[in-house]
């Protein structure tokens, strides 16, 4: 999944969105809690002011009476709204009826004239917000001023209910928003990377041989890439062609003088001794030129190489060989498994098939047959391998000499022209161009040359 650019961007966008919404939710939740607490504080402050206005602190034994309390919640037990008055030592002088059966701890000595808002827990384990206010009261009888603490408390049930309600509502909205933003994000990503998808699709089309270059109208940022890729594709083909033409010209200029030398030496009977002496060096020179030029011409697996249909190539080789070996009673045939594709250079495939089949024809008694099969690659995503088997019913090569015959220029039977170089050429192409292997199995029934080609 992470191999998809779209998925990567979507995952990153999702993570960033989730992080943003979480932080936003935390900030909003904190803000709402603060506001709700401030609201509770204001309410409790109002209550304290009311109590302060009603309280007769000149009569500390009973500063307030039930009848004086205007808020009915303070008269109802366990209503969640409580108030009480302490003296300087924390002794409760008055408490509201709602505090029947419960107590709240004295907040302690504080500086006079300050409101202290804090969390508290009642004796019944009810969590409360409490606001305390310490007043310094000068009695009418001019006695020394007395210190009283007025405390108003409110249970957290209502606060919690508000917070939970807010959170529910907030997460509902945020979830909707997140889903909406993800949809928008997906649409933007799809639209944004559509040109990349198009490039990928066109590259697949090039790989499958359906088109030869990128043709789409790409955005400015990708135009240079598309242009350069097209130039690369054209350069690859023309370069390979030019390179092979140059090698062909080189072959012509090297081999024609060799042909002249050989022809003159072989035509002039007076030069027999010189001809015999020069035969081996000329043969070696010829073999080296052939081998090295063919080696240099090997293209191998290429990036974006269009697939080559194997069937028609094999057919062309077989028809050509039937023409060349017309005089010999050899039956040349071939079979190609369905959907066999060669992902490489057509010239390489022709060299492999041509050399193996030609070699088999040179040795066969009556029959040569070629089998081309698909083979399972090492990994599931890789292109299928290709297995080429060329059978002949000839005398075969002794097992101990198989390795020798695969070496460059080795010719077991000098009477059969060209044997040796062909196998070495095929081996070179198969091993260096397609990371494969060439094997030769000989038995009483004949020889099987097998080339395994990989396109990983």
């Amino acid at each position: 999944m992470l191999h998809s650019l779209h998925s990567r961007l979507l995952i990153v966008a999702g993570v960033v969105l989730a992080a943003f919404l979480s932080v936003a939710a935390a900030v909003l939740d904190h803000g709402f809690r603060q506001t709700a607490k401030a609201s509770v504080q204001e309410r409790l402050k109002g209550q304290i002011f009311v109590l302060l206005g009603l309280a007769d602190l000149d009569r500390p034994s009973q500063p307030l009476t039930a009848a004086q309390i205007p808020d009915p919640a303070l008269a109802m037990p366990e209503s969640g709204h409580y108030a009480q008055v302490y003296d300087a030592k924390g002794k409760v002088l008055w408490r509201s009826r709602s505090m029947l059966g419960l107590t709240v701890q004295w907040p302690g000595e504080r500086a006079a004239g300050n409101f202290v808002f804090e969390d508290a827990i009642s004796s019944t384990e009810e969590r409360l917000f409490c606001l305390s206010y310490l007043v310094q009261w000068e009695p009418r009888d001019k006695r020394k001023p007395e210190v009283y603490t007025l405390q108003a408390c409110e249970g957290r049930r209502e606060f919690n209910s508000q917070v939970h309600g807010f959170q529910r509502s907030m997460w509902l909205w945020f979830s909707g928003l997140a889903a909406f933003l993800m949809l928008i994000q997906t649409a933007i990503l799809r639209w944004g990377i559509a040109p990349l998808r198009q490039i990928a699709s066109e590259l697949r089309a090039i790989e499958s041989g359906q088109q030869s270059a990128l043709g789409g109208n790409y955005p400015r940022e990708l135009q240079a890439l598309a242009r350069n890729l097209n130039a690369l594709l054209i350069a690859r083909d023309t370069h390979l062609q030019r390179y092979r033409n140059a090698l062909g010209d080189l072959a012509h200029s090297l081999k024609t003088p060799l042909a002249v030398i050989r022809s003159i030496l072989e035509s002039d009977h007076r030069a027999r001794a010189i001809a015999d002496a020069l035969k081996e060096p000329v043969d070696q020179l010829d073999a080296t030129i052939k081998y090295q030029l063919q080696r240099a011409a090997t293209a191998g697996r290429g990036a974006l190489a269009p697939p080559v249909e194997v069937g028609p190539i094999l057919e062309r080789i077989i028809v050509s060989l039937r023409k060349v070996y017309h005089a010999r009673p050899i039956l040349i045939s071939g079979t190609v498994a369905p959907a066999v594709i060669f992902y490489g250079d057509q010239g390489d495939l022709m060299e492999i098939l041509g050399n193996l089949a030609d070699n088999a024809c040179k040795w066969a008694r009556s029959r040569v047959w070629v089998e081309i099969l698909r083979d399972k690659p090492a990994s599931d995503n890789a292109r299928p391998w290709l297995r080429i088997r060329v059978h002949d019913d000839g005398p075969g090569v002794p097992p101990e000499r198989v390795h020798e015959v695969m070496r460059r220029g080795t010719r077991l039977d000098q009477s059969v022209e060209g044997h040796g170089i062909g196998l070495a050429t095929v081996r070179e192409i198969v091993e260096t161009g397609y990371v494969g292997e060439l094997t030769l199995q000989c038995g009483p029934q004949g020889t099987v040359a097998e080339a395994l080609l990989k396109f990983d």
């Binding site: 092979r244 081999k255 060799l258 002249v260 050989r262 022809s263 072989e266 011409a297 060349v324 010239g347």
Partner: protein
């Protein structure tokens, strides 16, 4: 048999032509594609040897032009390019065989002879007509297993007649396929050679292997036989 050799490299052309002539072939030579195109269309060629790397008219185009004109003589291509793409392309365009430079002259001769035999419908190097066997490799003639000695020119005449056994071959055709130069052609010489051949092939004058079709030419009377029917 008359061959056309199209090769731009002078030394190779001269050396090959000399060797082919020494092997009993009549050889026309062309140093470029244009000359080759003319000679191929003008003379009764039995087979052509064409270098693919000609400077003016590439060998492949020359072959294509010959085939387009309806010329069906067998063609052996000589190429320095040993790639199978080139070989297959050459064979597809109308050539019958290929040889990669530098080649052994013996192999060239063997391929040319094989092409000539193939063109005349023979598959073996030995031409068997009745009890007569002409070995084109060893250039020897036997009758009922007994060797008959013939000269090089007698061999050339007999080879052409046996190659086309059963068919009347005119003197003109025979001389055109045996001589390169018009000036060399002399029907009297041919008559003398035929006469000598008749004496050597049929000393008792019972078989009459080379019969005269009056006003038309000569015919090797014995039909082809296969090796198994000997």
């Amino acid at each position: 048999m008359r061959l056309l050799l199209v090769e731009d490299e002078r030394q190779l052309r001269e050396s090959l032509a000399a060797r082919l002539r020494s092997e009993g072939f009549a050889v026309d030579v062309a140093a470029n594609g244009a000359e080759g195109l003319f000679s191929g269309g003008e003379y009764p060629i039995d087979a052509a040897i064409v270098d693919l790397g000609l400077p003016d008219l590439p060998g492949a185009e020359l072959i294509a032009k010959w085939r387009a004109k309806g010329l069906t003589f067998p063609i052996l291509i000589l190429t320095a390019r040993s790639s199978w793409e080139d070989k297959v392309a050459g064979l597809e365009i109308g050539a019958d065989d290929y040889l990669v430079k530098p080649f052994h002259t013996e192999e060239l001769l063997a391929r040319v002879r094989a092409l000539l035999r193939r063109a005349a419908g023979w598959t073996e190097a030995k031409l068997r007509c009745g009890a007569f066997i002409l070995d084109t490799g060893a250039k020897s003639l036997t009758y009922d297993g007994n060797e008959i000695e013939i000269t090089a020119f007698e061999y050339k005449v007999l080879e052409y007649l046996m190659m086309h056994a059963g068919r009347v071959v005119s003197k003109t055709e025979l001389s055109e396929h045996l001589y390169e130069d018009d000036n060399d052609r002399d029907s009297n010489v041919l008559e003398v050679i035929i006469g000598r051949l008749r004496k050597k092939l049929d000393p008792s004058r019972e078989l009459n292997p080379v019969e005269t079709a009056r006003g038309h030419g000569y015919r090797f009377r014995f039909e082809r036989t296969s090796a198994s029917s000997e």
